[in-house]
């Protein structure tokens, strides 16, 4: 016990509180008024005034809490928690033992040979315990296929998979597993959905690696757990974000590997936009790690952390304090942009220089010699990877060619993955976007982020603006602009729209549309 006497008689003595979690655990210390005092990842050490606090630990989406009286130096070690995963790990939930055994066994076999040099293992399974469904379950891989980028079918998983059945013999919660030998490259995982709609995403097979895709079909439980969400019993559920894990391994699936489980924690954190990058995790990615997906997820989380820290710093400097608003404890970072270079080099050592997600990360490398320079020809697996290419395309439009956009342009949200509706006859969203914006709007568009910050920084009083246009049912009304602005716009000649390059860039970033595509839409 080592109380530090304060100069002020009103201040209580302070003590050191250490919190030691598992790798990538998010840690929070909360005071008696439910205010966040400090936060950290994996390990946390804080000097706190004596008092009553709550220590919260989050791993994936599972939380533990402990209320402590800090009246001496002390260490808190949150209880380890299990989390849910589509991959049937040894320590995660939503897993039957026979699912795990089937994944470990069938990922070692090859069921279909369509090439040489890489493998893709897919397991699609149901998990409905402890409230088993009474409805008959269709084949867990129904409508699921692996295709070449040309659309040619390599495997219909309903036909080619080995199905593991419940040992209790009731046929409930089957798991379909299948390994395909392929040439290294990018493939499409397609899920047929009712009504002729198909959902696709890319699967990258790297030389001498097995890419493992786990699809969890978790029946909706709305009868007992009312949810305010949309109905979720569609086949498309199989490709929703919480239902798919992607891992990479030299051999088959190893359910007890800690680093694989950590990759899954990183995947969930990236899905939720949570910053779990720690010095300890960075040290792991800095060394000779052997887990490409952990590296890819980790690098994106690193970028997320760096970008968020920069935004917070900008907001802190721009915003004047307001009544009732308190300073938010920031996540302290010792990470730097240079750390990304290290991860990119390590990832290229592992999977070569043809992995679109790794190449996307290279675009943000601080070392220019590491940056990818050729046009992207294959869709990456992650949406954030696509966004990195889109961002870079604003400086170098050839990086993101229009023909690739044509494939994935009907993107549908499924974080962290890049997922799109295939075969949709809808119009080009880039053209829709440009059409939907009048010259007035195009000239005045700002992103929400910059708009808010700019407004705060600029201050000033509001101007009176005239009436908006007609209200629409789905969205807000047409804009109102000051008369001088409207007059200048009305004088603008019809025809090709003159749009500020910064506005085009912001539109590109906000809508994930490559710059070349957007420029073409404006020219049309």
């Amino acid at each position: 016990m080592s109380p530090v006497k304060s100069a002020s008689p009103e201040r209580p003595p302070s003590y050191t509180l250490r919190v030691e979690g598992q790798p990538a655990d998010e840690l929070f210390v909360i005071d008696s008024s439910f205010g966040l005092v400090t936060r950290g990842v994996e390990r946390l050490e804080a000097r706190l005034p004596a008092g009553v606090y709550k220590v919260k630990s989050r791993r994936a989406r599972q939380e533990t809490e402990q209320i402590v009286l800090v009246d001496r130096d002390q260490t808190v070690r949150p209880e380890p928690t299990s989390f849910a995963s589509p991959a049937p790990f040894g320590r995660t939930t939503l897993t039957h033992e026979y699912h795990r055994d089937a994944a470990a066994l069938e990922s070692q076999n090859v069921h279909v040979v369509a090439g040489i040099g890489a493998r893709i293992f897919v397991q699609s399974r149901y998990w409905t315990a402890p409230m088993p469904t009474t409805e008959p379950q269709e084949h867990p891989a129904r409508g699921l296929s692996l295709r070449r980028l040309t659309g040619q079918t390599i495997v219909d998983y309903e036909q080619a998979s080995v199905v593991a059945l419940n040992p209790q013999g009731d046929g409930r919660d089957p798991a379909a597993s299948c390994t395909v030998a392929v040439d290294p490259g990018t493939y499409l995982l397609r899920q047929e959905v009712a009504g002729g709609v198909t959902v696709e995403r890319s699967v990258v097979a790297s030389p001498d690696w097995q890419t493992q895709v786990f699809v969890l079909k978790n029946e909706p439980r709305t009868a007992t757990v009312p949810s305010a969400g949309a109905p979720t019993a569609d086949p498309a559920l199989a490709l929703l974000p919480d239902s798919v894990s992607v891992l990479m391994s030299r051999g088959g699936f190893e359910p007890w590997r800690d680093d694989m489980e950590l990759a899954e924690v990183a995947r969930i954190a990236l899905t939720d936009g949570r910053r779990i990058m720690s010095d300890q995790l960075m040290q792991m990615l800095d060394g000779k790690f052997d887990n490409p997906m952990l590296g890819i997820f980790g690098a994106h989380i690193l970028l997320l952390s760096l970008d968020r820290a920069a935004e917070e710093a900008q907001a802190d400097s721009a915003k004047a304090p307001t009544a009732g608003a308190a300073d938010r404890p920031r996540l302290e970072l010792t990470l730097e942009a240079h750390d990304l270079d290290v991860i990119v080099r390590n990832l290229r050592r592992l999977v070569g220089d043809g992995h679109p997600d790794v190449e996307a990360l290279s675009l943000r490398a601080s070392d220019p010699s590491l940056r990818h320079r050729k046009p992207l020809t294959e869709p990456p697996m992650l949406r954030r990877s696509w966004s990195l290419f889109v961002a870079a395309s604003n400086d170098k439009p050839s990086l993101c060619p229009p023909d690739l956009w044509a494939r994935i342009r009907h993107m549908t949200p499924s974080p962290p993955y890049l997922t799109w509706l295939s075969g949709s006859s809808g119009t080009d969203p880039a053209r829709d976007l440009v059409k939907s914006m009048s010259p007035v709007a195009v000239a005045t568009t700002r992103s929400k982020r910059t708009r808010r910050v700019a407004a705060v920084a600029g201050g000033g009083r509001r101007r009176a603006v005239p009436a908006g246009g007609p209200l629409t049912a789905a969205g807000p009304p047409l804009a109102a602009l000051p008369p001088d602005r409207l007059a200048s716009v009305r004088k603008r000649p019809a025809g090709r729209r003159r749009v500020d390059p910064d506005v085009r860039k912001q539109m590109s970033l906000d809508n994930d549309i490559p710059r070349a595509v957007l420029d073409r839409a404006f020219r049309a």
């Binding site: 209580p12 909360i30 005071d31 008696s32 008024s33 439910f34 205010g35 966040l36 004596a50 009553v52 606090y53 809490e65 209320i67 402590v68 009286l69 959905v193 439980r221 757990v225 009312p226 305010a228 969400g229 949309a230 109905p231 569609d234 498309a236 929703l240 939720d272 304090p321 009544a323 009732g324 608003a325 009907h410 949200p413 974080p415 997922t419 949709s424 829709d432 939907s436 005045t444 708009r451 407004a455 705060v456 600029g458 509001r462 009176a464 603006v465 005239p466 009436a467 908006g468 209200l471 629409t472 049912a473 789905a474 969205g475 807000p476 009304p477 047409l478 804009a479 109102a480 602009l481």
Partner: protein
């Protein structure tokens, strides 16, 4: 306080065609209750103190039950848009007066919506309307409406509360909404809270009043009554702290275990807004101790520096003490018993063993 405030309150509870087929309903049980409870707080003089005539409620309860035909199904998108059109109309009328306040409508705008929902991205919520079907998922871009009014600066403060799922919906293609944007000239205070963090789900459950409520809305209402800060005010900061810690208290065990369900709300802007200054509320905490502790001295500590919230002699193996919201440590030193407890707007029990 509140006399110049306005509110749009939406609750969509009945979805007659949103199930597996267009003849299957996918109803919720809470949004009507939630919308009514939020409106009650808004009009309560010790709550939001908003004049009743300044509130537009659009709820399933105002439509016939059951719907006599498909044309009578509501609220539809245009019904909700009508509430916003009402505000727009006030702005234009004010602006047309020579001595009027320009386009200013009032001091604060509350936007509350509850129903089935989805999100395209973080903090961008949409609520499905009653006439939604699987093949035609009609909805209202709730966050964008709030955003537009924020940009238009018709009010001096903005409060947005969204009680709906924030998970993506594969069936809805991401498309731009066809509208022009207003250029704001300032950045008025805004507090926005969402029932789930993208891409998580929001849930509802039977609550202490015997009715179904969204866990978020129920926590919100509790917080608006009890989450006072050290100055006796319920502020953006104190309300956020309360919601983060309290929301999962109002879920079922099954919901808390379900990883698809967001255990914490999400927050956009948290600018300093004072919601109310109610008298401090206390909640019964029942302490259970072994027989050996009876007759010994107990102490309940809270805060920093730790201060005595209560102390005394343990009267029996179970005794009840009223405590305000907060974190506490209960000790019976002579029996070497210590346990922490979080009081969060409801009665609690604690066992010292």
């Amino acid at each position: 306080m509140g006399a110049q405030d306005f509110a749009v309150v939406v609750g969509v509870e009945r979805y007659p065609s949103f199930g597996r087929t267009t003849t299957d309903p996918l109803d919720l049980q809470g949004p009507d209750n939630d919308a009514r409870a939020v409106a009650d707080w808004l009009t309560d003089p010790t709550g939001g103190a908003v004049p009743a005539e300044n509130i537009r409620c659009v709820t399933s309860a105002s439509y016939p039950d059951p719907f006599p035909n498909s044309a009578a199904v509501g609220p539809k998108p245009r019904d909700i848009a009508g509430a916003f059109r009402w505000l727009e109309g006030i702005a234009q009328r004010n602006n047309s007066r020579i001595d009027g306040p320009g386009l200013t409508v009032g001091n604060r705008l509350y936007v509350y919506m509850s129903g089935h929902g989805y999100a395209k991205r973080r903090q961008e919520a949409a609520v499905f309307t009653a006439n939604a079907t699987r093949s035609r998922p009609l909805h209202v871009e709730a966050s964008r409406w709030a955003e537009w009014f924020y940009q238009a600066e018709y009010f001096r403060e903005y409060v947005v509360w969204m009680d709906c799922c924030m998970n993506p919906d594969l069936r809805i293609r991401t498309e731009p909404v066809g509208y022009r944007e207003v250029v704001p000239s300032s950045s008025p205070p805004l507090f926005s809270a969402f029932a789930a963090r993208y891409p998580g789900q929001a849930v509802e459950a039977a609550q202490a009043d015997g009715e179904y409520h969204g866990a978020f809305t129920w926590a919100l209402l509790k917080g608006l009554r009890s989450a006072v800060d050290d100055n006796g005010a319920i502020t953006s900061h104190s309300l956020k702290g309360y919601l983060v810690n309290a929301m999962q208290t109002f879920m079922t065990d099954e919901q808390r275990r379900d990883e698809r369900v967001s255990k914490e709300p999400d927050f956009g802007s948290e600018d300093g807004i004072v919601f109310a200054r109610p008298p401090q509320a206390a909640f019964d905490v029942t302490v259970h101790v072994p027989a050996a502790a009876v007759g010994r001295r107990y102490r309940i500590m809270t805060g920093s520096p730790p201060r005595n919230a209560r102390s005394g002699i343990v009267p029996s193996q179970a005794f009840t003490i009223p405590l305000p919201n907060g974190l506490y440590v209960v000790t019976v030193p002579a029996a070497k018993l210590t346990e922490g407890i979080e009081v969060i707007g409801v009665a609690r029990e604690i066992s010292l063993t």
